[in-house]
Amino acid sequence: MTTRRHAAGLLTIALGAGLLAGCTGDDGPDDPTPSASASGSASASGSPSSTASPSPTLQDRSAELLDGASGLEQIATTKARSGSTFRGATFTFYRLTRSDASTLLVWRVTGGPSSNTNDANVRFWERYPVLVTGGKEYSVVSFDKENDGWSALSNPLLPLKSGAEGPPQSALYPPLPAGTSTVTLKSPWFSSVKVPVTDAPTAGG
């Protein structure tokens, strides 16, 4: 008999272990080549497609980058299903963007008093929301996880605190047809909800 492993508990443990491991040292480049000059631009070495641009002064441009980042604007919200381990939680959706290659869903979950994330194990891709439009259901993209079955191309949902909004989650889907303006999200996690679709931003666009 073939079964897939249940590992919600292991997920939590291993995530914690992973974070600890991520805080240890590193064996990155030992001998970076210092060659910064007084001025320069983002360009590619030896590249036919180098992005030659006017040479700006090299200076910390963090503020321009961070101040210009778009924030999270709520586009839809719905409540968790009582039969889900999320019961009592609220799902808030911030982005549903399509490109010709994929569709990206971004959401956050505010936990309820007895909510937990067991239903959101990435190993159970079939439990992830589906995008419903035009008589079709678009399922989350999954990946073949090294002899551990197909898992959702999404990040596990951690942490989940009562009354507090958790970190942004994202999941990748097949491309919606161009011009799609709204889809219905269906999921065993929450009550179905209509969500507007926008086109993904592009660099320089």
Binding site: P34, L66, S139, S142, N155, P174
Partner: protein
């Protein structure tokens, strides 16, 4: 040749009638001398502050692809103590990485849904099992919380014919990033420089230490189900498949086609024809994990053969059919739930690549 995917997408678009115009998401910031190719906000499990993740480049070099990204706290979160970005991302151990690779920098990939492949961080046998920015450098000290630091990681080579990918890093996904050639310049002498002060040096000499390079390329599967026609179009391992729901095709434990099966198989034939397929297609039977291995293997073979027999006369000349059974050996979903078992009970038609 028109692909099945293109045909299905076009059909889906037509089925919507005159589509309403979708708005475009907020534009990316323009920063002088700094390519900004995509952004996302990310959190973590220990710090309530959100960080801005920015993708600056997906660049081909000999034997690898370099992903350049930066991390910095959003303005409203620039208070408190040091921000250690290596701890950001909730789920870095679980998505598109090899054998327990950990941390933000090692869980990264260039994703091409259209070919169903993802090019993840190359693996090395070391304490930090990938080649990239030292994780301790990915931080903003308390006195510089407005600093966005640039990191990099070496991914598996993205093929030359792929021009745009989606990117995974820091547990976040960023769409529509162009793939370009060569390293970014000028190079800084900082391991993780502030954005705008030059780009980190990329150590490609360590490519000789890479192990299990093929394992860095992950197979993806995506599916779109036509609810009324009971036919699911899937892409997997770079190929196109049509999944037929066996609950419509067969009664429980039977391999005789039901009266409803005719319409489903006719629709499958229409899609195969529309895709312009030629050569050999494979019809594969799959079961859930109920019953014994041997029983399921036999049932899957008989069901595949039944579908192949019904499909053959509906296809244009030049297409041959091979039928095989896999039993319960290739589940696509969780066999412990009814929904998962239903997905595993399927007959898959694999089209020629």
């Amino acid at each position: 040749m028109k692909t099945l995917a293109a045909a299905v997408v076009a059909a889906a678009a037509l089925s919507l009638g005159a589509p309403a115009h979708a708005d475009t998401a907020a534009p990316l910031p323009t920063v002088e001398g700094v390519p900004v190719l995509g952004q996302a906000l990310i959190g973590n499990v220990t710090d309530d502050r959100l960080a801005v993740l920015t993708v600056h480049g997906v660049r081909r070099v000999e034997g690898a692809t370099v992903l350049y990204y930066s991390l910095g706290l959003r303005p409203e979160d620039q208070s408190g103590g040091n921000a250690f970005f290596n701890s950001y991302g909730n789920g870095n151990n679980y998505v598109l990485n090899q054998g327990g690779a950990t941390g933000l920098g090692c869980t990264a990939a260039a994703i091409d849904v259209s070919t169903s492949l993802a090019y993840s961080a190359l693996r090395v046998d070391a304490a930090v099992p990938c080649i990239g920015t030292p994780v301790a450098d990915l931080m903003a000290p308390a006195e510089e919380l407005g600093k966005a630091t640039v990191g990099w990681v070496l991914l598996a080579p993205v093929p030359q014919d792929i021009s745009t990918v989606d990117v995974l890093v820091g547990s976040a996904l960023v769409q529509s990033v162009p793939v370009e050639d060569g390293l970014l310049e000028p190079v800084s002498d900082e391991a993780a420089p502030a954005v705008g002060t030059g780009w980190p040096a990329v150590d490609t000499t360590r490519l000789s230490d890479v192990v299990r390079a093929k394992g860095a390329v992950f197979d993806l599967r995506s599916q779109v189900k036509d609810v009324k026609k009971k036919v699911t179009k899937a892409t997997r391992k770079g190929g196109e498949e049509i999944d037929l729901d066996t609950s419509v095709l067969f009664a429980t434990d039977k391999a005789t086609l039901t009266s409803r099966a005719r319409g489903v198989i006719a629709e499958a034939a229409r899609q195969i024809t529309a895709a312009g397929s030629s050569g050999s297609i494979t019809v594969t039977g799959h079961t859930d994990s109920n019953a014994s291995d041997a029983y399921n293997l036999d049932l899957s073979k008989r069901r595949a053969a039944a579908v192949a027999r019904a499909l053959e006369p509906r296809l244009p000349g030049g297409i041959s059919i091979r039928s095989v059974g896999k039993g319960e050996s290739e589940p696509i979903a969780d066999n412990s739930t009814a929904a998962g078992r239903a997905l595993n009970r399927r007959v898959t038609i694999t089209l020629p690549k």
